[in-house]
């Protein structure tokens, strides 16, 4: 008698695959453990720790001037804003009076950083969904900003231009001229972004209606930045808890209500226009004066706890310092936007296809060193 069991070739079963840590769409070393059924995603488990450098622990060893350069290495695409966050926390704790010039220059460079980060994101996100040309156009425009940074700050990515109390050195004489050139250049290029990608029907069909995040979920997952604002959650720190020179400028908080990948895409593209308008308002009105406020060579914060949040290109970055009155912090904690935004990936990707996961992840705009620290 034939005892061979009957094999049902059409039965589906769940199995697990790895995406990353070397996958091109994970932008670094993020490992996702996917439980899939065919091509439908049942579960997404991010596995972190591949680029952990214990920055928070190293901060406990360093003086407050030395901490600043470590934050360059967290979210390297908005390194100036990270520096600013630490410096603002220390300055608030010391109750230092910061010159107006410093505030304006910091704001201009922070907005340039935001544009640089968003252009890079735009190029890379186009490449993730299969439009290779965007990569070159995004990097072309970012190159001009990098040249501005290199001339004024001395480095293109990890600038370390802020020190507690102000700036390391004054802006370069060419800074204003170059920034104006960039604004004129970018105003002609930004409409091309829409022509090339935003209005493309193939791209829109790919993006619309997937990875939907509701406003309630955005709030409960702690989403911030463009991810939160695309779901209608008004969370712009620049608007609600103004710092530096943001109270002097007029700008709109870009809000969308759909919460899908396409609205997250739109929020970032529209934010570049807002950043341009902020720079335009400030670039002709840089006040004269000192570029730093004098601090002691050894900074000792008064005993207590200090918190300051800023809006990086990815969302809300919080810096929390516990000081015992010595020259090092007792505990330093960073609330990074990428970590909270990654936590909702499982929620919005389940039920979708693997291809949609790539598009969803691209619009979350993850920077892995920011998540791991």
């Amino acid at each position: 008698m034939d005892t061979t069991p009957i094999i049902n070739n059409f039965k589906s079963e769940e199995y697990q695959i790895n995406m990353g840590p070397q996958h091109p769409a994970t932008h670094g070393v993020l490992r996702l453990l996917l439980t899939i059924d065919g091509e439908i995603i049942k579960k997404v488990e991010p596995d972190l720790g591949y680029i952990h450098r214990s920055i928070e622990k190293m901060c406990e060893r360093d003086s407050y001037q030395q901490i600043v350069h470590l934050t360059d290495r967290m979210d390297y695409l908005s390194s100036h804003i990270n520096n600013e966050a630490v410096c603002l926390t220390v300055e608030n704790a010391l109750e230092l009076e910061i010159p107006e010039r410093v505030k304006v220059i910091r704001t201009i460079i922070a907005e340039l950083t935001r544009i640089a980060s968003h252009t890079l994101w735009w190029g890379v996100m186009g490449m993730d969904v299969g439009a290779l040309t965007t990569y070159f156009y995004g990097f072309r425009d970012r190159e001009m900003i990098n040249d501005i940074f290199e001339e004024t700050c001395g480095a293109r990515l990890t600038m370390n231009y802020n020190i507690p109390g102000g700036l390391m050195f004054d802006i370069h004489p060419n800074f204003v001229k170059r920034t104006k050139e960039f604004i004129a250049h970018f105003k002609t290029k930004l409409p091309e972004y829409d022509l090339l990608l935003s209005n493309n029907i193939i791209f829109r069909k790919r993006m619309e209606g997937i990875g939907i995040l509701t406003k309630e979920d955005a709030i409960s997952f702690g989403a911030s930045g463009p991810v939160g604002r695309a779901s209608g959650y008004s969370c712009d720190v620049r608007k609600h808890h103004s710092y530096s020179a943001y109270d002097k400028v007029k700008f709109n908080e870009v809000l969308k209500t759909e919460g899908d990948t396409y609205s997250r895409y739109q929020v970032r593209v529209l934010e570049m226009w807002e950043s341009l308008s902020i720079i335009e308002q400030l670039i002709d009105n840089i006040p004269e004066g000192d570029f730093f406020a004098k601090t002691n060579a050894v900074i000792k914060l008064p005993e207590g706890e200090y918190y300051q949040k800023v809006e990086t290109a990815r969302g809300e970055l919080g810096v929390y310092i516990v000081s015992t009155g010595t020259k090092n912090p007792y505990r330093m904690k960073f609330r990074s936007p990428g970590f909270s935004n990654l936590s909702l990936l499982n929620h919005i990707a389940v039920g979708g296809k693997i291809g949609d996961l790539v598009a969803t992840m691209a619009t979350l705009d993850l920077v892995i060193p920011d998540i791991d620290r």
């Binding site: 190159e143 480095a155 990890t158 029907i201």
Partner: protein, 158 residues
């Protein structure tokens, strides 16, 4: 019906996008931003503030401005700078004075934060704009910044 309008819109937006790329294709020489590195080494000039590596300038008498105060060593976040010093007799005054023996700089550990140069009270060290730092052995990246036989420039006090 929407099937045909989708095809129409697809072709239309594709051509709109291709009009952008086509524009750059036809005017490729005008808007080219590509740098012909390394062929342009002779004309390539980095910005003055560019942080390449830390160097110690010497004048023609083989004299530098480092007094050995070790402020750069203290300011460095990751121990890239080591200063070996001892007290030597100053030939002018005859008193014993702190002088550097070796100012050791580990380029392989340096994060280019610039805190040492900010901290230096006598402007003894500064940034060089050299960026081609690849070597075959990492031991080459440890450099002694003061030249052999160099002395402290007279009149430099911290």
């Amino acid at each position: 019906m929407s099937y045909f309008s989708d095809i129409y819109n697809g072709v239309k937006t594709l051509l709109t996008g291709m009009s952008v790329t086509g524009k750059y294709f036809l005017h490729s020489r005008k808007g080219a931003i590509t740098q012909q590195y390394p062929d342009n080494r002779d004309t390539l000039k980095m910005f003055d503030r560019f942080r390449g590596e830390v160097v110690m300038p010497h004048d023609e008498n083989n004299e530098h401005r480092c007094t050995g105060c070790q402020k750069c060593e203290l300011a460095c976040p990751n121990g890239s700078i080591e200063i070996i010093w001892d007290r030597q007799v100053d030939p002018e005054t005859g008193k014993k004075k702190k002088m550097i023996d070796q100012h050791i700089y580990h380029l392989g550990m340096c994060t280019m934060c610039g805190l040492c140069i900010e901290a230096c009270p006598t402007d003894a060290i500064k940034w060089a704009q050299n960026f081609e730092n690849s070597v075959y052995d990492r031991a080459y990246l440890t450099r002694v910044l003061n030249k052999p036989g160099s002395k402290l420039m007279p009149g430099v006090e911290d």
